[in-house]
């Protein structure tokens, strides 16, 4: 249950090739995150899998069967929308039971399932309320509940946390991850937030302009980015990408060093002057104007009493410098 394969899936809107061609395998039980900048096609890809858009060419297989021509209702997938898309004229209970009603399930059985889902999501107290009377987080849970009762082959999440405030986002993130551990169903999750991707995913698919840049586990993408795009996208603050003389010294067009992999040393290395400094207590972020490599961001642990105008020396940690060739791809 829940194995999805995309073969040469292409999608164009008129003249525009939004997705030039994607090949991807999602195994049963995976938590896969599609991540990328706005307009990279991640939501489009999700909607193609859901059946809400037709592919221009290519195949989509769900559990070994070709689902390319099937309408969304027949694919056995459940989707949680960014705006939750709850039925405003139905109570929470009716919302959750709706898919079961559409499937023609006996009402007793349906009620049991709905109550079970509500239990898992702490919604039992709200069953008779309307969506308009719920908070954002509660609505989010109702949307998830509606998806759970169907016992689908896979869950599709379309940026579900974007409309929540920061604190709620963090707790909902954890709830969804726990849900995945509990249900063990395949989950495909779309987000533009790479922190969500890194914390939730088993496998991350980085998309750029409709193309897959890299597929891998979070740590794989962090430690071994395939190209400059992935290197610059994963990790916050962004990896410092440096061209010019220093890169040429190592035989590459571009070298990359993450801010957390730059040590502050007393002498040697790259010389610079502190421009901006941000003190969070747990970390210190410095923006340094160096003579050899231009502007770089540095992240130091704990407190560091550096201020605007101070002189500073930076040294990349051993083995933490990434090299990229003229094609942008990582060099061995």
């Amino acid at each position: 249950m829940g194995k999805i394969v995309l073969k040469s899936v292409r999608k164009s809107f008129g003249e525009v090739d939004v997705i030039p061609g994607v090949n991807l395998t999602i195994d049963n039980g995976d938590f896969v995150v599609f991540v990328g900048p706005s307009g990279c096609g991640k939501s489009t890809l999700l909607r193609l899998i859901a059946g809400l858009e037709d592919t221009t060419s290519g195949n989509i297989e769900i559990d070994g069967k070709d689902a390319t021509a099937l309408p969304p209702a027949k694919r056995g997938l459940a989707m949680v929308f960014q705006s939750y898309a709850l039925y405003p004229h139905m109570t929470v209970r009716k919302n959750i039971m709706f898919p079961l009603k559409m499937a023609g399930m006996d009402i007793g059985e349906a009620t049991k399932r709905a109550d079970a889902a509500a239990n898992v999501l702490n919604l039992t107290a709200y069953m008779e309320r309307r969506p308009g009377q719920l908070s954002g987080g509660q609505r989010q849970r109702v949307a998830i509940g509606r998806a759970i009762v169907r016992e689908p082959a896979a869950f599709l999440f379309d940026e579900p946390l974007s409309n929540l405030d920061a604190a709620l986002r963090v707790s909902m993130r954890q709830e969804i991850t726990e849900l995945h551990q509990q249900l063990k169903t395949t989950m495909i999750y779309v987000t533009h937030d790479q922190v969500e991707a890194m914390t939730m995913a088993d496998k991350i698919v980085v998309l750029n302009a409709g193309r897959i840049e890299q597929v891998g586990s979070p740590l794989e993408l962090y430690n071994k980015p395939d190209n400059t795009f992935v290197a610059g996208f994963i990790g916050s603050p962004k990896m410092n990408l440096i061209e010019g003389a220093e890169a040429a010294k190592l035989g590459a067009k571009t070298i990359g060093v993450r801010p957390e992999h730059l040590d502050v040393v007393s002498s040697g290395g790259w010389e610079g002057v502190v421009g901006l400094s941000e003190h969070l207590g747990s970390d210190t972020f410095l923006k340094v104007e160096t003579t050899q490599v231009g502007t770089v961001n540095v992240r130091a642990s704990g407190e560091m009493m550096m201020r605007h105008g101070d002189k500073i020396h930076l040294q990349p940690q051993a083995g933490k410098t990434h090299r990229f060739g003229t094609d942008g791809k990582a060099m061995a």
Partner: protein, 290 residues
């Protein structure tokens, strides 16, 4: 959003309306064109045949026709002018800090919901009637002779009645547009040192151009076809003084029972409507997004 299956269903669902409207447009219009070239009089059913352009030339040579065109344009232009100018003024007034904006709006929009024959009848009998009307009573009070509205000023009277009916529509649209103007824009202008007149000229008026355009377009569509008011009061008279093009066509069709001529008049009306629509769309098209 769309998939093949939903697109097919969609096309099927639009079909009835399109077919109905298409038939409604094509069939009667085609028949009208056909009749306009025929000799066809209900009172002389034996006389039959091809009329060529005779029906059309009858119109073009008839002084009543040119009078009707003039009256039609006067009606449309006059009502537009009155309703928009006063509509803006009244909208501005109601938008001020006043007590009872709700009831005010209800009072102001009422004339629009009075059906045309009743509106015409009220004005003709209760107000403009030379013996029993209120205006006559007022004239007597001042020692003047009462004005014979329907006889001496038939077209103006009709214009007045129609303007009274349509003023609420213009006011309502313009008021809605006025109230959709964010107060922040006006506050910013005030902080920039603009006096009230300038604020009106440079911020309020441009914001309202779009809705003024809509009012002009919509009202023109309806005003070109005004009928009930004329039928109820003057019947196009005295003579043809208050006959508009639609009324003239009606007279030819139902009173003179000359089908051929009425049809020709109808086609001329369509041409006129298209000319007006063309110029309207051109000059106002830029003001609309749609």
């Amino acid at each position: 959003m769309a998939t093949q299956s939903s697109r097919a269903a969609a096309r099927l669902m639009v079909a009835p309306s399109v077919i109905v409207l298409f038939i409604w447009m094509i069939v009667p219009l085609a028949l009208t064109v056909w009749f306009s070239f025929r000799i066809y009089r209900l009172l002389s059913p034996d006389r039959n045949g091809w009329a060529g352009l005779r029906n059309y030339s009858w119109f073009l040579n008839s002084p009543d026709f040119w009078l009707a065109i003039t009256n039609t344009l006067l009606l449309v232009g006059g009502v537009l002018a009155i309703t928009i100018v006063f509509g803006i003024l009244i909208a501005l007034l109601i938008d001020q800090p006043v007590w009872g904006q709700g009831p005010l709006r209800i009072l102001v929009i009422s004339p629009f919901f009075v059906m045309p024959p009743v509106a015409a009848s009220i004005w003709e009998n209760l107000f403009m009637h030379p013996q029993n009307g209120l205006f006559a009573a007022v004239s007597h009070a001042f020692g003047w002779k009462p004005i014979l509205f329907m006889e001496s000023y038939p077209m103006s009277s009709v214009i007045f009645i129609v303007a009274w009916e349509w003023l609420p529509f213009a006011t309502l649209i313009l008021l809605t547009a006025l109230q959709s103007l964010s107060s922040e824009q006006l506050e910013a202008a005030e902080m920039d040192g603009a006096p009230a007149i300038s604020r009106f000229r440079y911020i309020v008026l441009p914001h309202m151009i779009r809705s003024i355009t809509v009012v002009v377009l919509i009202q023109t569509i309806f005003l070109l076809g005004i009928f009930g008011e004329i039928f109820t009061t003057t019947q196009g008279g005295p003579g043809s003084a208050s006959t508009t093009l639609p009324y003239m066509i009606y007279k030819q069709a139902v009173i003179a029972k000359d089908i051929g001529r009425a049809a020709a008049g109808g086609i001329i009306a369509v041409i006129l409507a298209n000319i007006v629509a063309y110029f309207l769309m051109r000059s106002m098209g830029k003001n609309l997004d749609a």
